[in-house]
């Protein structure tokens, strides 16, 4: 089985429509999937994760495609520094086993660009 998330673009402003298409091939048995828009942290500390929105998508045929749409949240914004990055992504999981099928990274911020965080060691 092969799943693919095709996004209209990868950089979004908060409040903007985040749209795309899920396409699948070689799905032998009808599968209920959940598409999650989520953020997570990366860096020196323990990872935090939050799910902002989710959609249930049925993959009932062997192959097909289905459009999806979310509203990009206003926060937390995509940002990155030496100690911490906050990142956004979409992940598609099969229910009920929560098996991850595919994923895609996006950037969500005030202007659609990842915000660089100042490094305290270099701050003047």
């Amino acid at each position: 089985m092969n799943y693919q998330l095709i996004l209209t673009k990868n950089n979004f402003r908060g409040g903007e429509s985040l749209t795309g298409t899920l396409s699948w091939t070689d799905v032998l048995t009808p599968t209920t999937t959940e598409l999650r828009l989520y953020w997570w942290t990366e860096g020196k500390g323990t990872m935090d994760v939050g799910v902002a929105a989710r959609l249930t998508l049925e993959c009932s045929n062997q192959q097909g495609q289905q459009p999806f749409s979310f509203i990009a949240p206003h926060e937390p914004v995509s940002c990155s520094g030496s100690l911490l990055s906050i990142r956004w992504g979409l992940e598609l999981v099969a229910l009920p086993k929560q098996e991850r099928l595919t994923e895609a990274n996006v950037i969500i911020s005030y202007d659609g660009e990842e915000i660089p965080l100042a490094d305290n060691n270099n701050a003047t």
């Binding site: 860096g43 500390g45 990872m47 990155s80 030496s82 911490l84």
Partner: protein, 208 residues
């Protein structure tokens, strides 16, 4: 340097598999110990990592896992511990999981007072399995005794950063500087990672 490009970021460190541990044998031993076991070892020796792997094993085997993490900022009260039991009892009475085995995991069990531990063990149903991590042996039969070494540190570094240039001498220096705490050694390497050379930095001082 972006945190999500640092090879020593926590999400990668957490993926380091427990080295030289046969988990199938551990599960067999856990069964022989009637579903009671303790992972014993010093700070930063991989107890939590092994427990997380065992939790995933249990979930894949269809067990229901309930876990609790206790550290030096956690106020361990009876409600913290009883929460591990009460929802399970409610679920069982509702017959939502009539045949599912239950594994309770407590990370940092040495921080539970003797009185609370005694009360918890009295309330723990006999058919619930219990896995703990602790710095000291004694509360449950030991399932695995963790040890660390400079060689293990090098293996961990090689795992997150194949073809690492960390030498054996540097590994020994770091290992000594952080008193055998592998987690702290890896945090040091996170801070000292040089994105321009793609090399971990050297220990700033050694206590050899």
């Amino acid at each position: 340097m972006n945190a999500h490009h640092n090879p020593f970021r926590m999400s990668r460190i957490e993926r380091i598999p427990p080295q030289l541990v046969n988990r199938d044998a551990l599960w067999q031993q856990f069964s022989q110990q009637h579903g009671r076991g303790a992972l014993i070892g010093p700070h930063g020796s991989g107890k939590t990592t092994l427990m997380e792997h065992l939790q995933r094993d249990a979930q894949q085997r269809g067990w229901l896992v309930r876990s609790c993490f206790i550290n030096d900022t956690t106020c361990v009260t009876w409600s913290v511990l009883s929460n591990l039991l009460i929802p399970l009892a409610q679920q069982k009475s509702a017959q939502q999981i009539p045949t599912q085995r239950i594994l309770i995991c407590i990370d940092g069990a040495e921080r539970i007072s003797p009185w609370l531990w005694w009360r918890f063990m009295r309330r723990l149903p006999a058919d619930h399995a219990l896995l703990i991590t602790s710095h000291r042996a004694g509360r449950l039969p030991t399932l695995h005794q963790h040890t660390t070494s400079a060689a293990l540190l090098r293996w961990c570094v090689e795992y997150v950063m194949p073809n690492s240039t960390l030498t054996s001498e540097q590994a020994h220096g770091l290992f000594a500087q952080y008193h055998g705490n592998i987690r702290d050694c890896l945090r040091h390497l996170y801070d000292s990672w040089d994105s321009s050379t793609h090399r971990p930095g050297l220990p700033t001082q050694t206590a050899r």
